[in-house]
């Protein structure tokens, strides 16, 4: 199906949805973070893994309070005017009122804001938040900033979550987190300037596209692509591999191939033609294509990165039981369906595909086509073949992190 000419996609995507969810000015948060930082004692405290009995003790006697404060990323939940239909349903069923805020623009700024408060054991103003697996989440886990989850209260997660999303490498047994949505980092390109089908990651090193290649600023993203290009599996990589990957990426930069190391702004650059081929996030490109842009997204044959945005409860949450209730609620297939039909990223609940198709069968005209597009999109329900090539970010220890950043940051930020 040619999505460009599909009016359902054009109509289905509301104006507000066109703004990408990571489209955020990390700059805006900096002042606040700086002030918060000045007040913090810069104290660290490494936390030990919680024992099962301690987890049980924590949750016994905890009561539902009837309110929940939820911090999420922009455009990351179904929305109908000013209402959030899935949250309304939640309130209807549980009596819990939800204050939903699009408070998180990127992981590092968010962590910078909450770190001093959590270090001082103060309420951060939210009971539930969504963070990507990566350096900041690892730090939050290492510092004991997240509450261990009571899986007895998460029956829907146990029943409906895809086996693949359970027991992730960064949080064994989902002790502290469960996924909200999942995305893929691959290559996006503009067929107007790029001839033929792109399948190999080596195209990002092709001198033909000198100065028209976009890479990502995030060191974990860029490092993974350096490793894929050399045939290194990030999961099994060590410092020697990182050095090779860094050299490969440095070579790309020194040859003047890279236009810029982008944050979220790569989408605009690609849409405008400033770059022709770039590292990209699946959901962004789905939205661009739905908007009518002639862009393509592939998971390179050498590999692509899969990342997960995780729900987690800060240790100073005032309403932890209510948070847990919502975490389980969104794993009901019908609720997960409402979410995926709007968010257009990969859902952790595979049963939604049938339900989206069922909704499509009930719908008419353009809505029908739009929903069919969602259910059949390889960007939302990736093929087994694609999935086999996907790897997570390498989970780093604090010592490794320093080594890793010292290798890759001079490349993206030199």
């Amino acid at each position: 199906m040619d999505l460009r000419t599909n009016p359902a996609f054009l109509r289905g995507m509301t104006q507000s949805r066109r703004v990408s969810r990571r489209d955020a000015f990390r700059i805006a948060g900096l002042g606040a973070a700086g002030l918060a930082l000045a007040a913090c004692g810069v104290e660290g405290r490494r936390a030990a893994a919680p024992s099962p009995s301690a987890v049980a003790d924590f949750w016994t006697g905890k009561k539902q309070n009837g309110t929940l404060r939820f911090a999420n990323w922009p455009l990351y939940i179904d929305k109908d005017g000013k209402d959030y239909p899935s949250l309304d349903k939640f309130t209807e069923e549980t009596g819990i009122k939800v204050t939903y805020q699009e408070a998180i623009q990127d992981n590092s700024t968010w962590f910078g804001k909450i770190q001093p408060l959590l270090a001082a054991n103060q309420d951060i103003g939210y009971d539930l938040m969504v963070m990507t697996n990566g350096i900041q989440l690892s730090r939050a886990l290492a510092l004991g900033y997240l509450l261990p989850l009571d899986h007895k209260q998460l029956p829907n997660f146990a029943a409906n979550a895809a086996p693949k999303v359970k027991n992730p490498i960064w949080d064994p047994n989902n002790t502290h987190t469960i996924p909200w949505t999942i995305g893929v980092t691959g290559i996006a390109y503009n067929p107007e300037y790029v001839d033929g089908e792109i399948t190999s990651i080596q195209e990002l090193w092709n001198p033909k596209y000198k100065g028209k290649i976009g890479m990502m600023l995030d060191t974990q993203e860029v490092a993974n692509f350096g490793m894929f290009a050399l045939g290194i599996d990030p999961d099994k990589s060590g410092p020697a591999d990182w050095q090779k990957a860094a050299a490969k990426l440095q070579e790309q930069r020194d040859a003047g191939l890279v236009r810029k190391y982008y944050e979220n702004d790569y989408v605009d650059a690609l849409a405008r033609g400033d770059v022709w081929i770039t590292m990209a996030w699946s959901g962004d490109i789905f939205q661009q294509v739905a908007e009518g842009k002639n862009l393509k997204f592939v998971v390179p044959e050498e590999g692509g990165t899969i990342w997960t945005d995780n729900m987690c409860i800060p240790k100073t949450a005032q309403n932890p039981v209510d948070a847990l209730k919502l975490m389980d609620f969104v794993y009901k297939p019908e609720i997960a369906t409402m979410l995926v039909e709007y968010i257009n990223y990969i859902t952790p609940v595979p049963a939604t595909k049938e339900l989206v198709l069922a909704d499509a069968a009930k719908a008419k005209g353009e809505d029908k086509e739009f929903l069919e597009g969602v259910a059949n999109s390889p960007l939302i329900y990736p093929s087994e073949e694609d999935q086999a090539r996907l790897r997570s970010y390498k989970t780093l220890t604090t010592a490794e992190e320093k080594q890793f950043e010292d290798l890759f940051q001079p490349i993206t930020q030199g």
């Binding site: 000015f25 900096l30 660290g44 962590f111 400033d274 604090t398 320093k402 930020q413």
Partner: protein
């Protein structure tokens, strides 16, 4: 009581400085000599070597930032002086309107203004598209992610801070002084060089202070309009604080930058000090 009045008057400002400048600075100075990481905590070890290390590691970005700041400041003077001159002497009754026009961009968010430059300068955008189709510039010519774009962005964003002080200085020039010069047979150019220019130098001096310092430590323009070779020291500080949570390195970089600027500004004040300028004006 009466004797206390001046102190009471200065109290709000003094407290403000104490709470929002002195205290954070002492805190930062302390952080800059600590060692450790965010997970295991930072310990005060008076590790002054951090300063040497960051200076060696980020020398390029330091020099680049100062270079961009200087270039931006000089270009700002060249643009702002004629504008301020025109408003002050030819603005007539519409001076207020013209000043408002100069300030108008401030009604739009700083970040948004800079982002809109990306659309103006896009490879096939409003500016380059027609030039390319007319064959005036090569197909692979681009402005975004170049030094020119970053300096251009800096000048654009900080220009009003140069225009206003120069305008104020020129506005205060008594027209009769110029008339006197002309009466004494000074050609226009000489009257300008000997009378108007020296009288306006304090304004230029203030303008330089107000643009050079923020330009050099700016990071928004480099982040939005720059490329891999345009990283400024502000970007590095931001990364160290927010991404790496390496507070000692961030603090040491900030202090080094501040020290460099203070030395530069004092040297500049010495060379073209306000006192000297005033003396020149009095002569």
């Amino acid at each position: 009581m009466r004797r206390l009045t001046p102190y009471l008057l200065v109290l709000p400002g003094g407290l403000w400085l104490l709470v929002f400048l002195v205290v954070p600075m002492v805190f930062m100075a302390s952080v800059s000599t600590q060692e450790g990481d965010v997970v295991n905590g930072f310990v005060q070890t008076f590790h002054f070597a951090t300063y040497g290390e960051v200076l060696a590691q980020y020398q390029t970005q330091f020099l680049r930032s100062v270079g961009y700041g200087l270039a931006g400041t000089v270009i700002s003077i060249l643009i702002a002086y004629p504008v301020a001159y025109w408003i002050a002497f030819k603005g007539g009754s519409r001076k207020a309107t013209y000043l408002l026009l100069v300030l108008l961009p401030f009604f739009v968010s700083f970040v948004l203004r800079t982002v809109s430059w990306k659309f103006l300068l896009a490879d096939d955008g409003i500016v380059l598209g027609p030039l390319k189709s007319a064959g005036l510039v090569g197909e692979d010519f681009h402005l975004l992610q170049t030094t020119a774009a970053v300096i251009g962005g800096l000048v654009y964003n900080y220009l009003p801070f140069m225009v206003l002080p120069i305008y104020v200085a020129l506005e205060r020039v008594n027209p009769t002084v110029i008339e006197a010069a002309r009466d004494l047979y000074a050609p226009r150019a000489v009257a300008f060089a000997k009378i108007v220019l020296p009288l306006s130098l304090p304004g230029v001096f203030a303008g330089v202070l107000m643009t050079f310092v923020p330009m050099t430590s700016d990071y928004v323009n480099a982040a939005i309009l720059g490329g891999p070779e345009n990283t400024m020291i502000g970007n590095i500080i931001q990364t160290e604080y927010l991404v790496n949570n390496d507070y000692p390195v961030g603090a040491a970089l900030s202090f080094t930058l501040m020290a460099a600027m203070l030395i530069g500004i004092f040297a500049y004040a010495r060379a073209l000090g306000t006192e000297n300028v005033l003396e020149a004006a009095a002569r």
